[in-house]
Symmetry: C2
Subunit: 221 residues, 2 copies
């Protein structure tokens, strides 16, 4: 049952290794099989080599994941049409989507001050919009931090619900059942507001508007 060795000539040309191809392969694996499948060994296998070979281009797994996040953020469109608010929403939504689309990447964003090329491009664009809104320098600066943190968190949450094995609806239904079974004496507010807690609606848009309105009403410093 063993395959005879195939001469280099005979088999399809092996793509040369590079940081870029490693990063893109990592993203593919993440999308196809999730975070647990993203191992150095799996990336190597996909590239028809051994894990040791990756370390020429990538310092370690964390470095690879940071590069993958940057690659994902590179696909965020930096400009949009519409009102000032529309443009902020468009940039925010695209950023959340870019992160949440690939399981586990949002967590990487939460773990470090953004310094990668494409993260900084998103930040620069958001900063331009905030300044356009008439904010002073300090408020705009603090605001961009806060918004980026919020987007990463929203992406992490969405990514977790969407990916984690089962369906998103199952997760919510299970939580709803749990809330329904709580002792009203111990959890009076949750029990009485349960309807509202699980009420449908565009919470992402609302959350971003809360941030925008709050920033407009809260000078920093």
């Amino acid at each position: 049952m063993s395959t005879p060795p195939i001469s280099r000539r005979a088999r399809p040309a092996k793509a040369p290794l590079s940081r870029d191809v490693i990063v893109r392969t990592g993203l593919d694996i993440l999308d196809r099989d999730g975070l647990d499948a993203l191992t150095m060994r799996r990336v190597a296998k996909e590239l028809d080599t051994g894990p040791a070979s990756l370390y020429v281009y990538v310092a370690n797994r964390d470095d690879l994941m940071a590069a993958m996040l940057d690659e994902a953020l590179g696909r965020v469109p930096l400009t949009a049409d519409g009102t000032w608010r529309d443009q902020i929403h468009a940039l925010a939504n695209a950023t959340v989507e870019a992160m949440s689309r690939h399981e586990g990447l949002a967590t990487v964003a939460l773990g470090a001050i953004p310094t990668s090329d494409n993260a900084l491009l998103v930040l620069d664009r958001m900063l331009a919009l905030l300044k356009q809104g008439g904010l002073d320098d300090t408020t705009a600066a603090w605001a961009v931090d806060l918004i980026y943190l919020h987007l990463a968190a929203a992406a992490a949450e969405e990514s977790a619900y969407t990916t984690k094995g089962g369906e998103e609806d199952d997760t919510i239904a299970a939580a709803d059942r749990r809330y329904a079974s709580l002792d009203p004496r111990r959890y009076p507010m949750i029990t009485s507001l349960r309807q509202a807690l699980f009420s449908p609606g565009d919470r992402d848009a609302w959350g971003l508007n809360v941030l925008i309105n709050g920033i407009l009403h809260t000078p920093a410093g």
Copy 2:
């Protein structure tokens, strides 16, 4: 060099295994040696047993971490003095502290709808405060979600900066140097606002006030 077996009588009484003692041992390891050290095998060793024994009380590593988060949240004081705003800040700060104090726990909170006893207690208390502030049911419900998400994210960030090997100041200084070396043509806003981006001040308190003010100005639904 090998130690002779000690009779059961002679050695100190081995604490009986229980979910609680496993959870607390996990928290201890997290505090002493960080997230990477928190392995099932390490917890077992600390309890003088084998890893297989843990699975009687804990479904798997994720279950253990969820239980650890709940234990940490159980230490949050649920009441405080002062104005309405003071009370929200106190509850929020205590929650962030409880999470960020133990590396990696905040990420657990980000990955699931809160359903554990002590998380729900924090939520219930926050909900009471929000309703006290005059919010309608839907806004209060969406707001508590948003605030909890923000607190978990803030804790994750703080935890990452504080713990990640080196000092927090080093991380910031490195980011500052990176920002200083950016091409102003590609990153016009970041370069011109660099001072403001790294300006000192209580960003946590400001961020929470942004949320509170935004919620007060943004009805849900």
